[in-house]
Amino acid sequence: MRPLTEEESKAVFEKLANYIGKNLVHLIDRPDEPYCFRLHKDRVYYVSESSMRLGVSVARPSLISLGTCFGKFSKSGKFKLHVTSLDYLAQYAKYKVWIKPNGEMSFLYGNHVLKNHLGRITEDTPEHQGVVVYSMNDVPLGFGVTSRSTVDTRKLDPTAIIVFHQADVGEYLRDEDTLF
């Protein structure tokens, strides 16, 4: 377990900023308790400093996880956000998409969000913007990237993809072995 290097932090923050924008500051300056990012076995964890201090005493091979896992670095040095970061993304998300009940299961099986499943969308969402996907009763289900801006979606036909799937909570069941 070690702090992130400058390059690594840059990669992580860039990804996060795509979803939460300036709210990124809230992750670092927390009113309750200082939190920090830690790298352990290629995975990035976001953890309170008190937990981190206690976690230090666990030997490296035995430590499985601490705090919240945000994602992992691939071998080529790219950072990929995991669905486990959804809690924080949903809390600070700038752009949101709500999907209708009939689209919920489709999305949870890993499909993209189609236009006829779209319930609501934050106004003035730009193209290729990271968005958090909610069900109609405000339960965060995952996140993705918009294919068109809000204005352009009106012209699309009902089967067109609105949000490209990136992660959804169904992965807890589907990818339990590879996720952790």
């Binding site: 953890v47 309170s48 008190s50 937990s51 206690l54 976690g55 005493s57 666990v58 030997a59 035995s62 430590l63 499985i64 996880s65 601490l66 705090g67 919240t68 896992c69 486990t84 809690d87 919920e104 299961m105 949870l108 069900s135 009763n137 339960v139 965060p140 289900l141 909570v169 169904g170 807890y172 069941l173 339990e176 072995d177 996720l179 952790f180």
Partner: protein, 687 residues
């Protein structure tokens, strides 16, 4: 169904009574008549209210349009062809009206699908000649008298009933139904119908004879149970029962060997023998002497029958049998055959129970709060969607968790800002419960030795949004070395799983004596590690909760007692659970510490949750006790040295008594049964 069929068989009696033949219970007939005559639906509905399997009803409903109409026709034929007793008049009226009120009549038909079967038989009897009047009365009498026995006899839970019925009710019922169906099919042609009826009659007569024998036997058994019977009568009945010859004589050891060699007895024989043994053992003082056999023989037989009937290995069957009184043991084994209710725990980090219940109800899940003892649990009765894959589940709003798994965490009652250790935590139900109670403050160390199970633990921790959890994978026994100073420690120890046999039936056969000794050894090591990991100076905590999903004593009370002996600075405290049985303070000659009664046991047949054991320790400061011990030790040493200097030689004769006493004390301290004192022994053995 058998019992219902029996009840239905009772129905036609009033009809007979209206003929003035057999006077008994006129109520239901009245209803029927009203049904057909007045064509009101109400009686039919009342009949519906009587317990009836839905599927049966559906079956009855499907052929309504075709078969039922036929059925009615058949009835006409039956009546026309028959001797035409007066009791039929009313129904014939109904048949005249049939064309107008077909649907209504059908309705009543389908409701009484079962009743008809029985009815038909009885009618046939009446029509031919009333030669069975006396037997019918006999039928009804013992049947009714059977009921209380059925209720009181603890042996009869669902399975045993099913197994028992074929001897009496189902064959007759099903025969009758097939016969009646035959006659229905043959309906239009009178001659064939007659033939079928006569065949049915023959069969009926044979069955009746069988039934009579059965009833007699039953009456005999009942007589056995009835304590008011005088001795002679009792004996007679016994003889009758034994003359009937269905396993009422306890087989000798040789016979049992032979039976085993022959590949084991049939299931219903085993079952009857179990009932018999339970009855005898239940009133051993009264009846044991009469049998002329030893109690241990009966118990051996019962245990081996239990083993073969429920599919346990003999060792485990005996071990579990010894935990309970005889009837309760049977209840326990029966309860292990039935699955426990599905329960879920609301994740209070994400939602509230009411909101979750509403969301799930909207998805077509039928649920209800578990009970007053928990405010996060919900019991799921039935669900149209997989309860482990709803969007709510994936979003971490609830956890699928057995009701018994709530108990250790409730006992632990972690307070916010504490440092808590869960020593054997996968798959994380209890860990996430702790994290929820801490409201994501403090820190929870979730440990599990099994690396593959740790994955599901991590997944659950993340899914439920627990942000204060550190997951690690150590052997639990390394723990105070890795880290100590916890405010609370939960040890849900690895165990034999004898409490969750309904979930995992493989336990029945794959646990041997060695497994139990290995497990209890591991548990003893773990509990000491758990106690040592606690910070005794903790302001808010200093508690250890030890729990297992096993019911055996050597994994539970024995381990707790061991911990109390090994660590003088811990004491048992109340678990804070308001239900559950007290732990044993003595078991088969072993004496445990008095306070072991503060532990709690949970049983599947009593609490309808998995068999479980929960105990809670308070860890106090160690230093004081140690000092005392040391002082005492020093004092003793001083005394000993003083004695040495004063008197060099030992007087063996005089010391013998004290040595003996010391030995007894040591044995007592280790929990063995202490033999009576030496000077008393000869006196005890002489007579």
């Amino acid at each position: 169904m058998g019992r219902r069929a029996k009840n239905k068989q009772g129905d036609p009696a009033p009809l007979v009574e209206s003929n003035g033949i057999a006077p008994s219970a006129p109520k239901k007939h009245g209803k029927r008549k009203a049904d057909t005559d007045a064509q009101s639906k109400r009686p039919a509905k009342k009949l519906k209210e009587a317990p009836k399997v839905k599927a049966d009803k559906r079956k009855a409903e499907e052929p309504t349009s075709t078969v039922k109409a036929k059925n009615a026709v058949t009835w006409d034929d039956v009546q026309d062809g028959g001797s035409g007793s007066e009791g039929w008049e009313g129904i014939e009226d109904g048949n005249i009206l049939r064309a107008q009120a077909k649907s209504l009549f059908d309705d009543s038909d389908e409701d009484e699908a079962h009743g008809f079967v029985g009815d038909l038989d009885e009618y046939e009897l009446d029509e031919s000649d009333n030669f069975h009047d006396s037997t019918m009365e006999l039928d009804l009498g013992p049947d009714e008298a059977d009921e209380p026995e059925l209720e009181t006899s603890k042996l009869r839970s669902k399975r045993s009933k099913q197994a028992e019925r074929p001897t009496k009710i189902i064959p007759t019922g099903s025969d009758a139904s097939t016969n009646s169906e035959d006659s229905e099919d043959d309906g239009p042609i009178n001659m064939e119908n007659m033939e079928a009826r006569s065949r049915a009659l023959d069969a009926r007569a044979a069955r009746e004879a069988e039934l009579d024998i059965e009833e007699l036997r039953r009456a005999a058994m009942e007589g056995d149970d009835d304590e008011e019977f005088d001795g002679a009568n009792d004996m007679e009945e016994d003889e009758v029962a034994e003359a009937d010859g269905d396993g009422f004589v306890l087989p000798t050891a040789a016979e049992r060997e032979a039976e085993k060699a022959a590949g084991g007895p049939e299931v219903h024989i085993v079952q009857q023998r179990m009932q018999h043994c339970v009855r005898i053992l239940g009133q051993w003082k009264k009846r044991g002497a009469k049998t002329g056999r030893k109690r241990s023989e009966y118990i051996d037989q019962l245990v081996s029958d239990i083993a073969s009937y429920y599919g346990y290995n003999e060792f485990l069957a005996e071990k579990l049998f010894q935990l309970f009184s005889v009837p309760e043991a049977i209840e326990f084994f029966e309860a292990n055959e039935v699955p426990r209710p599905v329960t879920i725990r609301t994740n209070t980090l994400r939602t509230r129970r009411r909101d979750l219940a509403q969301a799930l109800i909207n998805r077509g899940v039928n649920l209800e709060p578990i009970g007053k003892w928990t405010n996060v649990g919900l019991q799921v009765f039935e669900s149209s969607v997989p309860i482990g894959a709803t969007p709510e589940y994936l979003a971490g709003q609830y956890m699928l968790q057995a009701a018994s798994s709530f108990l250790p965490v409730i006992a632990l009652s972690p307070q916010p800002h504490e440092r808590v250790l869960d020593m054997a935590s996968a798959p994380g139900g209890k860990t996430t419960h702790i994290a929820a109670l801490l409201q994501n403050t403090g820190v929870v160390f979730a440990n599990d030795a099994n690396k593959t199970r740790v994955k599901s633990l991590t997944a659950n921790v993340h899914r439920l949004g627990c942000k204060n959890v550190v997951v690690c994978s150590y052997d639990g026994r390394e723990f105070p070395k890795v880290m100590g100073g916890f405010d609370r420690v939960l040890l849900d120890a690895p165990c034999s799983g004898t409490g969750v046999i309904s979930k995992d039936a493989s336990v029945k056969v794959n646990k041997s004596e060695r497994d139990f000794s290995l497990l209890s050894h591991l548990q003893k090591q773990l509990i000491l590690c758990a106690i040592d990991s606690v910070n005794p100076n903790s302001k808010t905590g200093g508690y250890v909760v030890y729990s297992t999903c096993s019911v055996t004593v050597d994994e539970n009370e024995a381990v707790v007692d061991y911990a109390l002996k090994k660590r003088p600075n811990v004491r048992l405290v109340d678990t804070g659970l308001e239900f559950g049985r007290e732990g044993f303070t003595s078991y088969r000659g072993k004496k445990f510490h008095e306070t072991v009664r503060l532990t709690r046991r949970f049983y599947p047949h009593v609490h309808n949750m998995d068999g479980f054991f929960v105990s809670k320790f308070k860890v106090e400061k160690r230093v004081k006790h140690q000092k005392k011990d040391e002082e005492e030790g020093e004092n003793e040493a001083e005394v000993a040295t003083a004695g040495d200097t004063e008197d060099v030689a030992f007087d063996d004769e005089a010391d013998k008594q004290y040595l003996e006493e010391g030995k007894r004390m040591r044995m007592k301290a280790k929990g063995f049964r202490v033999p009576p004192k030496l000077d008393q022994q000869p006196a005890a053995t002489a007579p």
